[in-house]
Symmetry: C2
Subunit: 438 residues, 2 copies
């Protein structure tokens, strides 16, 4: 993509109303623009990152055996009355009347609708277990939206729902999602700690929040220092319920809890290994048994002809919020440092002298070569000073910067900078292309 033809409105000044660094950088780097309180437009660069995050979430959901579908955003109040939540949900639910004065709402979550759709397609125990999910926009009418996409009103969420014939099955589904979450966040370069959590308006007996440590986080969290190590999930067979349960139990033997779920006895046990921080919730998993299936009268036929009320869990990831969490975890004074897996482009190609024919020809040729090799390149071909181009490249945080200048063009070399480490290397054009296409 040539920057001269792109739409990247970066800001020189930090907007005054943005309190936390991810919000400031998302505005400055031209990722988002606020269009109403807690509601954002995703500009082209922000949209690219959002799609990368979404795709990682999708791949790990698919790998866990979940099946993707898509629910509408607007749902009927009657559906939510069938579980008793229409009256219980409170003012965060955006309630709507259509032209025929029918009561509708913008879905803040979708337990009821998934339960109804599941019932429509499942007849017997042979139709279970099933895990269904969607990646869809939700709306929660926060009383005081703030921190940009971290506590917005319209947000992109992955929500999955599991249906099992008994507790053992439901527990296995819970564990599979638990594992999928560990893998999902690790792929984005995030270290997320699962913590026992309250179940809130979803209800249920068992819940973990996945929390990324950050000083700007909304929750205070307490955890054993063992959690600061990475966790290797590669050797675990997620299809083996006993092996998976053992792995997750071993993980959870190390204490980790949010403020609401502290256990002072366990904290005392941890002693000097106990750490305290603030954290950002990026996902939550719930087991709630037959809360919704029972309320909505959903049953399937068992092997012996009896009726079974399926056991459920639900599993959310804040897809748009993750962009903020990643930036909180990965930035410096100059701007964003995107982890490779979610970067909007792999390379920023900077032509330092757009007015120099030899430079422009060399940069054009490099751009064509990288594009032909399938590398995602943002080519700064604008008629701007080198300093402005470096500043923009640092701000937007693309992992590699490939710099074409007059001296290098004369010598047949380019400079390759790694944004995160700040390392620079002068190398031949071929060597640079080889490194970026490896």
């Amino acid at each position: 993509m040539r920057l001269s033809r792109y739409f990247l409105p970066v800001l020189k000044e930090t907007p005054g109303d943005a309190q936390i660094v991810s919000h400031q950088l998302m505005l400055r780097a031209g990722l988002i623009r606020q269009t109403a309180a807690g509601i954002y437009a995703w500009l082209p660069m922000g949209h690219r990152v959002l799609r990368k995050i979404e795709q990682i979430v999708r791949e790990e959901q698919d790998r866990a055996g979940a099946i993707e579908l898509l629910m509408p955003t607007i749902q009927s109040a009657d559906l939510w009355r069938s579980s008793g939540r229409y009256d219980a949900y409170g003012p965060e639910m955006l309630r709507i009347k259509d032209r025929h004065n029918r009561e509708m709402l913008f879905s803040p979550t979708a337990e009821e609708l998934f339960t109804q759709i599941f019932e429509n397609g499942a007849r017997s125990y042979r139709d279970l277990p099933r895990m269904l999910y969607q990646i869809q926009w939700k709306f929660r009418d926060e009383v005081r939206p703030r921190f940009g996409v971290m506590r917005g009103r319209e947000f992109l969420m992955k929500d999955a729902y599991s249906f099992d014939i008994d507790f053992a099955g439901a527990r296995h589904s819970y564990n599979r999602m638990f594992m999928a979450y560990l893998r999902t966040f690790a792929r984005m370069g995030l270290h997320a700690i699962p913590m026992r959590a309250d179940t809130g308006p979803i209800g249920g007996d068992l819940s973990h929040e996945f929390i990324v440590l950050a000083p700007t986080g909304e929750s205070e969290v307490f955890y054993h220092e063992n959690w600061e190590k990475g966790r290797d999930t590669s050797g675990v067979d997620a299809d083996d319920p006993a092996a998976l349960e053992a792995f997750i139990d071993a993980l959870n033997a190390d204490y980790a809890a949010t403020d609401e779920k502290r256990d002072l006895a366990l904290e005392a046990e941890a002693g000097s290994a106990l750490k305290q921080s603030r954290g950002i919730e990026v996902g939550q998993v719930f087991y709630f048994g037959d809360k919704y299936t029972k309320a909505m009268g959903v049953t399937v036929q068992g092997p012996d002809g009896t009726t079974i009320t399926p056991e459920m869990g639900s599993y959310g990831i804040g897809v748009s919020r993750l962009m903020g969490a990643i930036i909180e975890a990965s930035h410096d004074k100059d701007g964003i440092i995107w982890p490779d897996a979610v970067a909007p482009f792999k390379v920023a190609l900077l032509n330092l002298r757009a007015d120099d024919a030899a430079c422009a020809a060399a940069a054009d040729a490099l751009y064509a070569r990288l594009e032909a090799a399938g590398v995602e390149v943002l080519y700064d071909d604008r008629d701007e000073r080198g300093g402005a181009k470096f500043a923009t490249a640092d701000l937007i945080g693309v992992p590699w910067q490939l710099v074409v200048g007059p001296k290098g063009v004369a010598a047949g070399t380019v400079e390759l900078k790694r944004r995160g480490a700040g390392t620079r290397e002068e190398l031949s054009v071929d060597a640079a292309v080889a490194q970026l296409t490896a």
Copy 2:
């Protein structure tokens, strides 16, 4: 995907409330379920087709130089007041009050918001031309939603907006989108005819609707029989304004108009070449000059320091509606016949005897081979009779059916059926795999 683990609730009976064949087949084949009047859940198979259609639309938008971003669904009434449309739009706009009693709405289209976002990022004539687009859910509160996704309330739409410094530029942008639409619909196996059309609530001077002929279409249409031939767009250089204009003018020399735009003199001229049919609108392009930029006070600086009010166009494609249009155009008495480019799976692999160990082993092996080769396979491994499996495969309309039965397994052969043509071939397993992976 193993059907025994998938979520595909097909219906044996045609639902009584579905009047047109695409609606009937989308319900029967387990693509959608109605969740409220004019609002649908996209089941896993429907979701797959939706994503394929969306991706073709996206690729042709990108090819036309449009840049993708994403706007929120919920917008402020004040934004719509800035163009005067908040009061003008009528009851199809879903109006909402949030918890602070602020007036909001669910976006039925997005001229205002794109204009505002464009203004935010464009300063001078150097920032033009730009074409921005999104693929996002819209809501129009139809008084009488019907025909399934063809006239639903919540629907997926691609909407693009062009910004140019003068009429010549705007006309070129219009032509580029016109060309992109021809290519988009052709890639989906649709023959869409562009027809001069009314501009409706978008406003403006020039508009074409792209119409797929179908007896169930909502509009009556009149066209020269030349339109029944395909149009070869491959040789046209869309970057050359004059060449592109000449190509499109030559196309439009053949008469084609919707009911509202009939020209009886031109129809008389066409004589016996004039055809009459009904049609389904799948896209519409508008040129409306400075209608929104002027109302909203949007200017950029010209080369000579003067201010320029950009000229705009907008360009919609009904992404979810396209699924219905494709089915209207491609089905038979047994079910859907998906064009290859949008099929949810490439192959339905049918094991006719799930209770026969040799059959099951052969089918399992074929499934593994095709999956490893990256072929999208729906493997009917259920314990069902062959007749039921054939009927399901025909209903869901996957382009190829690969049939494993006991006689073939003994002889080392399988049967390969092409769903559309109905042709069947007995061939070796290797030959079948070679054909499906070619």
